[in-house]
Every structure is written in structure tokens, then in C-alpha cells.
Amino acid sequence: MQTGSEHMAAPVPNPQFVLRGARSAVHALHFCHGAQGHPLLLSGSLRGLVHVWSLQTRRPLAALDGHGGQCVTWLHTLPQGPQLLSQGRDLQLCVWDLAEGRNAVVDAVHLESVGFCRASVLAEGPQRWMLAVPGRGSDEVQVLELPSKTSVSCLKPEAGARLGMPMCLQLWQAESSPRPLLLAGYEDGSLALWDVSARKVCSRVACHSEPVMALALDPRRARGVSGSAEKVLAVWSLEGQQALQVRGTHELINPGIADLKIRPDSKILATAGWDHRVRVFQWRTMKPLAVLAFHSATVHCVAFNTTGLLAAGSGDQRISVWSLYPPT
């Protein structure tokens, strides 16, 4: 549906810049701040390297090799240090120390599952974090405490549930409640809300008919969105922090969503598509805003930073960085 007064819509702008030199498909992106607050972009590649890009010079500052040539699927930074968490398909989740120009693996968590599921992290205390990763059993999610690496919880669906493997995870803690929650998307297309401490499913809803590939949550509105291998985005809400409810679906033109992110100011949503395109929506209304057809291969990951930059990493080995609808 076209709404209102777009007689002459403006042409889509070009990327602000493009980062080349990852040398293989880009599977993970993460914005962070380096020393003296210089903005950095971290990218994880198919060949196991983590590149650190300076957004000022637009050049790679370092390439971290810690995953034995296996694909890096997830990147996250912890404020302490700063420390970098990188998840690879070599069954290692490495903890890197990036402070003062160092780039050494200081610790590693051995993972039990080689699936596609990306980890999720939640700050618990000043120096303590909770990390959710796929567990030993194919349908399990394991929750660890960092930095002690103690397994605090193992979330296993009921015997007859047949959810399949967890495909994407999101740890989350509501302001009103001390109990951490975990949103997990499963192989059968359903989404489950776990109470981590009670180890039980609070609510489950079948959003998709194909595996849930990615999900994003807007804690302020208690609403989220998920994408799967099909042509549909599902928007759902958390009623009273307890019950998941599908609010609506949004039809796409091509199937397959690899990743999706909501910008920190909750204005726009970006999806990474198997159709090589990044789609941008107005998050409140799900009105389509732009289709960024820059890449020539599957877009694997998208990321926003707080200043509104959008980065997309693709199988064509390029990372495009865009500035759309700058936050006011």
C-alpha cells in the first residue's frame, strides 16, 4: 500500500562509504568505540578473521585471527577493557582484549553446538554478564555467567515440544522485573519466551512456518520482529512481559531474512535479505521506507550504531555503510 503524498519519491541514496578488504563473505558486524572514543566497526568473515575498521580513516586497523579459519558468526563488545566476544563455527567463543592496541585472546568458551545460532549477552552486574549460547542437546540453550564461564541454566523444551534447534537468541531483562528473560526462535518457526531462572517457557507462539532466522526486540515498546526463510516478517508483542502475541505480518517480495536490527532510537528497522537487498522500514508502522539494492550477494548481517549509521555485510565481501533518516 502506498500511503499519502509520494508523487515523486526521492531516489535511494548511495552508501556513505563501502569497506572492501574482508577477502571473504562478511557474516557478523558490530559497532563499538575504540581508544579515545574513536568509532570502530568490527566485522567477522567466513574465513575466520575479525576485522577492526576505523570509521574515520575507513581502513582496517587490525585483523584478528582466532577461529582457525572457521566462519565468525557473532561479535559483541563488553565495556570492560574493552573486551570483544567473537563466536565462531570452530566451536569457540573467544574473549579478546582490545585495550591499548592489544589484540590477543584472553579467554575462550567452548561451545557445544555448531549450528547457525548466534549468542546473546546481557549485563547482570557491573562486571558480570550472562551469555546465552546453543547448548549440547540439539534443542537446548545454555546460559553461562561471564567471566566465570559457569553454566547457570540449561533451557530444554518439554519432551514432546519438537521445536527443533534454536536459531536465534535474545536475552533481555525488563526494568520492572529482576528476572532475566530469553527470547528464542526455533527451527520449527516458533518463538519462545523463557524465564531463565525458572527454566520454563512463559509463552510460545508460532510466528513462521520456516526456521526463525533472526529476531529483534524493542524493549521500550515491548514489541519485536522476526524474520525467517519465508517471505514474511512477523511483528509480535509481549503482553505484560509474559505472553507473546503476534501483532501482524508483513509480506516481503523475496524470501529469506538473514538478520534484522532495530535502530537504538526505535525509529527504523533494517533487514538483511537473501535477495541481496537491505530493506528499511519505519518501525512503528512497518511502512517500507527504502530498498538498498547495493550488494550482489546475500546480505548476512546488519548493524546500527548510536549515531544512526547502518552497516550491512554481504557475501560479496563488501560492507556498505549508510546514513538514512539521521536521528534528530
Partner: protein
Amino acid sequence: MDPVASAVRLAVQEAVHILSSSEDGGHIISTLQSLRRYLGETETQAPPEEQEEFSRTHFSTILRCLVGKLSPDWLDLLPDGQLEELWASFFLEGPADQAFLVLMESIEGAASPSFRLMKMARLLARFLSAGRMAAVMEGQCGQQAGPASRLLQETLLTRVVGLPDHLGNRLQRETLAAFFPQNYFPLLGEEVLRVLQAVVDSLRGGLDCSVSFLSQVLGKACVHGRQKEILGVLVPRLTVLTQGNCLWQRVCWRLVECVPDRAMEAVLKGLVEAAPGPEVLSRLLGNLVTKSKKAQFVMTQKLLFLQYSCSMPMLQSLLGYLAMDSQRRPLLVQALKELLETWGSSSAIRHTPLEQQRYVSKALLICLTHLGEAELRASRDELLASLMEGVKSRLDSSLPPVRRLGMIVAEVASARLHPEGPPLKFQYEEDELTREMLALAVPRPAADGPSEAGDDELVPYDMSGDGEQRGSKTPAYVRDCLEALTASEDWERWEEALRALEGLVLKSPAATREVSLELAKVLLHLEEKTAVAGFERLRQRALVAVTVTDPARVAEYLAVQFYALNYSLRQRMDILDVLALAAQELSRPGCLGKAAQRGSPGPGSQPSGAAVPAWKAVVEERVRRKTRRFCKQGSTGRAAAAGPNEFNAVAGYFFFPLLQRFDRPVVTFDLLGDDQLVLGRLAHTLGALMYLAVNTAVAVPMGKALLEFVWALRFHGDAYVRRGLLSAVSSVLLSVPAEWLLADLPDELLEARSWLADVAEQDADEDCRLLAVKALLLLEKLRDRLLPLSSP
């Protein structure tokens, strides 16, 4: 004789005598003072019956006498303008109608320019600003109109409404601002309101009153074209006054009812325009349309069918007014029937301007929104019959706007008339008009709710390039495409082949020439088997590419196929389009390719196409700035790439086969009969081919053949065909060298000239008239160019 009358007469006679002869200021003053007793303004009033006798019989005489005395010397008989003040008071305080008439009379009688004229004009301006005009009109409201006073009323009416004209004529450039129509008529409006107020008051007091003089004033002012000025003042006030006030409403209704028939149209049109909506119009008019035949005619016939000048808000007001009362609704149903009949009449479709057809269609849609289910059902059969008739005639038309009107109205009307049936749905492009019309078709919302607050609306970028992602089955060779298009059951591959074909053909002309005829045949017969986006365009582009690559054979084949059996009209029109596009490409290589790149959606949606030019422009701009040119005058604009006109060699293959058999119908194809749409397209295509053949050797025989073709069809009934013929004539004039034209075709040109002159004057279709004028201008230019050569 009545003693009162004779006493007054004596006094007046004496006063007149003194006024006309005396040079003594004091004497004159005392005489005037004594006369003022009869006006009832002084302490020592005359008895009422004497006052009445004076104002009925003698007032005008006195005023005329006073006007006659007016001169600078006379006024100076007493110092400080005392005499003038007293003199003026007679005009400003006495019976207003007589004073007004004498004022106007003396202004007309005064020499121009003169002292007296200016004095009287200023006095009239004072008269107006003192609000005496209300008194003039009020005087006419209480009276019973006898034969004598009707004449007087008419004189008064002419003077009241014609005041700006009279004064303008007399005073020329000296006229005062108060007499400008744009100032006078609003004032008149104010005065009418004051009189209406007085009428309402006296009605409240139980006194009978007549507003017919006011109606006449209003009517006459509107007939003079002063609706905006006078109604602009009246309507907003009346809107407020009539709200919830029955007495005011009745007075207002009466005011409009009493408007003479000849002024009814002007008044009603002004009211419809000035009223902010149907509710107000309904308050102002009441059930006027059921009481006055003339008003009914104006509202339901004149403004709907005989004119098409009302704006959409006016039309909404008008039809909304008809819908607001149960007594008026039958008129609305009747109007709908007649609108539908007119809308569907094939004669009206052919002979009325498009603008009027739009107007009728819009009125029709508005009517539909106002009518209820039951009312429509009651006359459903009749309405459906005219709708079907109309849809048929409209879809038959060869003018796209006429067809579009048919589709839109048919969709909306059938949904209302036959809600239980499956909805009718046509395919048409959305534009300004369709949006406007569809918006008219939904009932007007009561009030817009405030839109949901929240973050501000973000404006989407252009997403037209977003399409389905294609697989990797793209064929790499022309022959592969051919095979995929003919034999493949793999629809994805079929689509890919269709998409890739144009590029492949242009890339490998040699390979294409080997299979060009085969390819043309396949493409011409290709059917849309999957819902591939832009099928028509892809097929057309591919066919154009093939024709351009191997013009002689393919163009001849296509042109011959145009008259062959067993083609649909669509295919025949495709042939024409392809021939025209290919000819354009051949005569101006490159211009089509660029257009296609810009326009084609979906395939190649990489933004590089859009990005490169911007980048290129930046670089070129930089180079331009950094480069110093020694030749300052050198043109900086790039010259168009020069190249041979490839159309030259092959124009005949495109053109002549198309002309061969237009007058010989075959079983499924009758150009001179029902298939006039194709005939029109043929005429346009021939014109285009002629135009593109400029500077070619074959242009002369082409021009000759084309003029013959035009001559044979020049009285065709269809506007689209005539347009094609006219543009073909222009093409001939543009493309054939002037010397050849005059040498080879002098008679044809003379004949064409008189025909063009006829069309330019008389054709019903605006575009035809325009095209004929253009062709005539070309002919003129031709003559001007040749005359200097031949005349010396």
C-alpha cells in the same frame, strides 16, 4: 380642493419664488428653514398631514429647484458654507427615494465637467455613506405595488444597480472611490442586509412586508456580473443569521423566490458558489427548486448539462443541496438518470468536449454517493441499462481519456447499483484525474480524526526498482532464448529468456540476423504465460531490437503481417508500435537505448545505472573547471553524436506495405469499419514514419502516398483517426523538401489547405483543431520560404 393641500401648495410656491429670485442670504435661509418644517426635523413641525402632502407632491419640485440654484455665487451668499449645509440636508434627510432620483437625474443632466456635477457627485457619495440607500430600498418594501409605483420601482431599480455605470460614464476619470463597483456592490450588500433586518423586525411586530424589490436589486446586480461582490457580503452574514432562526430563513427563502426568472440563474450560480456547503445552501434556498420552475431548471439542468464551469466544491454543494430534503431527493434521482443517460450517449461522447464529459462523470459520481440503497434499487433497471449502454460506447472509443472515464464510472456505479454482484474491475493507470474521481466516489467524511501522534512520518525513498529476485537461468545466446521461448516448459527459464533477449540481440547482431525472422515471428505470437512484470514492454523491446538489427526483412515481414488474417487487434497495434520505435531508433541511434535503460524496472536493479551519471557529472564538472580553454566562444555543450541515418535505406520497407491494403477488409479485420482504433494508430504510425524519414531519398514518394491516404479518410467520424491524419499531414510538410512539395504535389496541398482550414474552425475535438492550426502554420511557413524565391 383640500384645504391642507392648498395651504402646502401656497407655501411651496412662495418658497420656490423666493429661492429662484432672491439674492438675500438671510431671506433664503429663513425660507429653507420654513420648508424644513415639512420634513419634521425642526422643533416647530408642520402637522403630519401637511408633511405627508409635502413629501408626496412637492419634495421633488423643491429639490429640483435647489439643484437649479446650485452655483458658487449662490452658495457664497452666506459665509462658512451655512447655505450649503442646509441645502444638503434636504437631500440627506428628506424622503430617500425622491432624493436619490433627483440626485441621479441632476448628475445625468449636469454638464460635464462642471461645478454642479462634482457637487452633486460628492453629495451622492455622502448620501451613500450615510446609509440612505437602505432607506431607499426600505421605502419599497412596505408599499403595495400599484401600476404607477411599479414604473417608479423599475426606474429606481435601474438607478440603484446601475449607479456605478452611470457615475462612471458621467465623471470619467474624476469618479469617486465610493462609486467603483468593487466598493459600491459590497455596500449595497450591507444595505440589503440592513433592510432585511428591518423586514424581519417588522414581521416580528406583525407588519406585512415585501422583499420583492430587494430580490430585484439582488437579481439585477447578479445579472450585471456582480455576484462575488454582493453575495460575498450577503452570504456569510445570512449563513450566521439563518442558523436556527426560522424567521430569517423564511425571509431568505422569500428573497430568492422573488428573484425574477431572468435573473434566477445568475443569483443561484452566485449562491452555489458563495455558500460554503450544502447545509448552508439548503438553509438559504429552502425548497426553492420545488416551487420555482426556473430555479429547478437552473439547478437540475443548466448547471449540470448545459454548462460545465462549476468547480467541484460547487457541484458538491449543488448536489448535496438536492439530497438534503426528502422533497428534493426525487430531483436528485432524476438528475442521476439524466446524467447517466448523457454520460452514456454515444452522440454526446463523440460531440461534447472532453472537459464536459469529465464534468458529467464527476457529477454522476457525486450523485451516487448521495443516493441510498433503496432509491437506487427503485430505478435500478433503468440506471443499469443506461450504464451498460454508456460503458459499451465509451470502451469503444479510441480516446484513452474517454475509455478511462468509462472504466472508472462503471466500476463505481456498478458497485453501487449492483452491490451483490461480483465487483467490476478494470485496469487503468492511476493519475491525477482517477484519484480525484475515486475520491469523489467515497462519501464525504464528517470530520478527519486527528492522526495518530508519535514519531514523525518518515518519507520513503523510491522503491519502484524493488522486484523479485531472479534465478540464474539466464540464457547466454540468442538461439538459446529462441529455444527457451518456443519449447521450454520451464517458466523461470522462459521469463529469463524474455528478459535477456533485448540485450543479447543488441550484443550479437550477426547471430540475430541468422534467426531474425523466426525470432520476430515467435515474439509477435508470444503470449503472456506467467505473470511476469512488464511483459508487454519486454516483448516490445525485444521485437524492436530485432527489427533494428535486421530492418529490411523484419520490418517488411511485420508490415505484411499487419494485414494478415488471424491476428488480434492488440498484435496489430503492437506491430505498429514496434515499427515506429524501430524507425526512431534507426534514424536516431542511441536515443531509445538510453530511454529504455532509464525506464526499465526490475532487471539490472543495481544502482550503478543511477550512480554512474552522478559520478560522471562530478568528474566532468571538475575537469571543466580545471581546464582552461583558449577559445572562449567555443560551445561547451556536447554535440550530439553524429552518425548516418540508417533509416534512409529501409524506410520503404516500413512504410509502403502498411499503406497497401487499408481499404480491403478481411474477415477479422476491418479498418474502415469497427476497427477504427487501429486505423487511428495506423495514421499516427504512418505520420511518425514519415517524420523520421526526413532527409531521405524516399521521402517524396512517401509524402505523396501519405497525402493520398489522408485525403481518402479526411472526413472520418472518429476524432482519434482525424488526429492521426492531421499529424501525418504535418509530418509530410516537415519531412518532404519544400521545392519537391510544390513541384510534385501542388494540387494536393491546395486541397489539404482548405480542408485544414475547415477542421481548424469547425471540428468538435479540441486536439484536432489544434493540430489543424499547426499544420496550417507549417503551410504558411512553407509559402513564406518559397515566395521570395519565386516572386522576383
